[in-house]
């Protein structure tokens, strides 16, 4: 079983203040730390745990700048056999363009696979679309929001998809297929710094994205970035923690949930 898993290096913006610069044309990420996309971490774990049981290899693929080698080494440390970097210095916003470029790459390099795993979405752009577009271009069955893999064998997979409100659906797919892996599907293994160091010795192949740009359409354009519209907003409590706690308890009493 040859499994491909896409992994992306993304800015960790959770606790960062983000500034829009250049007249709305750019978001300044220069001071923001980067990390592996959370969803991809689950996708790598899902792929690796399948080949550990069924045999075969996992190849991690990243479309991004040279620094994206980080997430390939991480995937190798988790159990991927090797890594391919499709190197592009400019960020590609349009999921259609990303998917078509990856499609061209897979075709041109004749990368063999039985299934492709992606994260459901990436934390930065939240498009949740590259896997679906790519599957359609490849003419392969697709399922996203995969929260359980119950069978994965020659020719078929049985998976569970997460719907809303605690409901799931069990779905059968013919292989090869493309799966979008949902966070929480497994417990991604711990990766040590030693493990990543060791992974550095495994060859990662670098391909220039420019080679695969032919026929890659840009179909949507970013006009500008904007900050979210401010709503009413909270009454912000100020001061020392002691005073804040007393104020909070006062609010809880007033609301009748604490005596």
């Amino acid at each position: 079983m040859n499994l491909l898993v896409f992994t992306k290096r993304v800015p960790a913006t959770q606790e960062e203040e983000l500034r829009i610069v250049d007249d709305g044309r750019r978001v300044d990420l220069s001071k923001v730390p980067f990390k592996v996309n959370d969803w991809d971490n689950y996708a790598v774990e899902a792929a690796v745990s399948i080949v550990e049981k069924a045999g075969g290899d996992v190849t991690a693929i990243s479309l991004g700048d040279a620094e994206s080698d980080d997430v390939l080494r991480r995937a190798i440390a988790m159990g991927a056999k090797d890594g391919f970097l499709v190197e592009s210095s400019d960020a590609i916003n349009d999921p259609m363009a990303r998917a078509c470029l990856l499609y061209n790459f897979l075709k041109k390099e004749a990368v063999p696979f039985d299934a492709i795993f992606t994260g459901v979405q990436s934390e930065d752009d939240q498009f949740a679309s590259v896997g679906g577009i790519l599957a359609a271009k490849l003419g392969l069955p697709f399922a996203s929001m995969v929260i359980g893999i119950e069978a994965f064998e020659a020719g078929r997979a049985v998976i569970r998809r997460e719907l809303e409100g605690g409901l799931q659906e069990r779905v059968k797919l013919a292989l090869p297929c493309v799966l979008g892996i949902q966070s929480g599907i497994n417990e991604p293994r711990y990766v040590s710094i030693m493990g990543i160091k060791k992974a550095s010795k495994v060859e990662r192949k670098v391909f220039k994205a420019g080679t695969y740009r032919e026929g890659v359409p840009g179909m949507i354009d970013l006009v500008r970035w904007v900050y979210p519209a401010k709503k009413g907003g909270a009454v912000m409590l100020q001061g020392e923690a002691d005073g804040v706690c007393k104020e909070l308890l006062g609010i809880l009493k007033e609301k009748g949930v604490y005596q």
């Binding site: 800015p11 913006t13 959770q14 606790e15 829009i20 978001v27 259609m96 930065d124 939240q126 949740a128 679906g132 577009i133 790519l134 359609a136 271009k137 697709f142 399922a143 996203s144 049985v158 997460e162 719907l163 809303e164 409100g165 605690g166 409901l167 799931q168 659906e169 069990r170 779905v171 059968k172 797919l173 297929c177 966070s183 929480g184 359409p217 179909m219 949507i220 354009d221 970013l222 006009v223 970035w225 904007v226 900050y227 401010k230 709503k231 009413g232 907003g233 909270a234 009454v235 912000m236 409590l237 923690a241 002691d242 706690c245 007393k246 308890l249 609010i251 809880l252 609301k255 949930v257």
Partner: protein, 326 residues
């Protein structure tokens, strides 16, 4: 008319005079978020054609201008592989639409990306705003910290619509929609529905609680959970959590608040270390009183909270325990 002049002519000169809204019907129920896709379609100023599986009621019969019935079951309708064939059939019959709109849900996003790939449509997901003057669509980035204004290029485009964004615009034109039946399409055996699976029930139902103490990624690690359990006991609150906490198995799934977990409306929702991803907000925004503690002053949750405090959740927790025991 708003946004109507953007692509007056489609390929082969067929007028793109309508917006195609793909209905989400689940277990026979017309999901409320369909109102958001219909609402955006209304804003586009086009005739609204609702595409739905056969034999299910789709809200009031005047929500859309026309209903196109695909002769498939609901579960086949929701397979992305079949949806491509169905939309292709609609195009063959009714011409190219200006837009194909999907709900912002597990199935909506799956259908939209696959259809966009197969039919080569520009795609914008998670649309939460539209400016008819400029013809731009607002889309969230970085968990709602920044939004992008996007414009699709020429031709039919596809979008998924964030729940709650356009439902007020889903006004009917008063007359019942004309129904047409689409020629049958062959279903694709590459993917097939087996059955629905219900989540396991927990001992505690968080939807019944008046007071929820809810914890998020910001608490840092599983080791912090017992101290929050203790605080919840002292406050007589029930402990709940946001998605990252459940994903990491710090707390069990029945404790999850949000679109893929539970929707809650307690008297007080006390969120500690939760930044407020949209899917979480959707599950708790109707609480009577929301209190949020977060390190990040820019955390989206402060936009929805009634009271907020910028600080470390764990430190405040310990202080609060001291005061309560005090």
């Amino acid at each position: 008319m708003q946004g109507a002049s953007r692509h007056p002519e489609g390929e082969r000169g067929v007028s793109m005079s309508y917006a195609l809204v793909v209905a989400e019907v689940r277990r026979g129920f017309f999901e409320e978020r369909n109102l958001d896709t219909i609402g955006l379609a209304r804003l586009l100023g086009k005739e609204v054609k609702l595409l739905a599986p056969a034999g299910v009621a789709c809200g009031s019969d005047d929500l859309s201008d026309a209903v196109i019935r695909a002769q498939v079951q609901e579960t086949d309708f929701l397979s992305p592989l079949n949806m491509v064939r169905i939309i292709q059939k609609v195009i063959d019959t009714a011409g190219r639409p200006e837009a194909v709109l999907f709900t912002g849900s597990s199935s909506g996003i799956e259908l939209a990306s696959y259809a966009a790939g197969a039919l080569n449509l520009p795609l914008i997901t998670d649309v939460s705003g539209y400016d008819p003057e400029k013809g731009v669509f607002l889309k969230s980035y970085y968990s709602d910290k920044i939004f992008g204004e996007f414009k699709p290029r020429e031709g039919t485009f596809a979008a998924t619509v964030r729940s709650g964004s356009f439902k007020e615009q889903a006004v009917s034109k008063g007359a019942p929609a004309a129904e047409t039946v689409l020629d049958a399409v062959e279903t694709d055996p590459g993917r097939s529905f087996v059955e629905y699976v219900e989540e396991e029930k927990g001992a505690i139902d968080i939807t019944k609680a008046d007071f929820l103490l809810s914890v998020g990624r910001g608490i840092g690690s599983k080791d912090e959970i017992p101290a929050y359990e203790e605080l919840a006991d002292l406050l007589k609150a029930v402990l709940s959590a946001s998605r990252p906490v459940i994903d990491k198995a710090w707390l069990p799934k029945p404790r999850q608040v949000g679109t893929s977990g539970k929707t809650v409306k307690p008297k007080v929702y006390f969120a500690m270390g939760i930044s407020g991803a949209f899917q979480h907000i959707a599950g708790m925004k109707d609480s009577e009183c929301i209190i949020a503690i977060n390190k990040d002053p820019e955390a989206p949750i402060f936009q929805y909270a009634h009271y907020g405090f910028v600080g470390d959740a764990n430190k405040l927790r310990d202080k609060m325990k001291d005061v309560l025991k005090g």
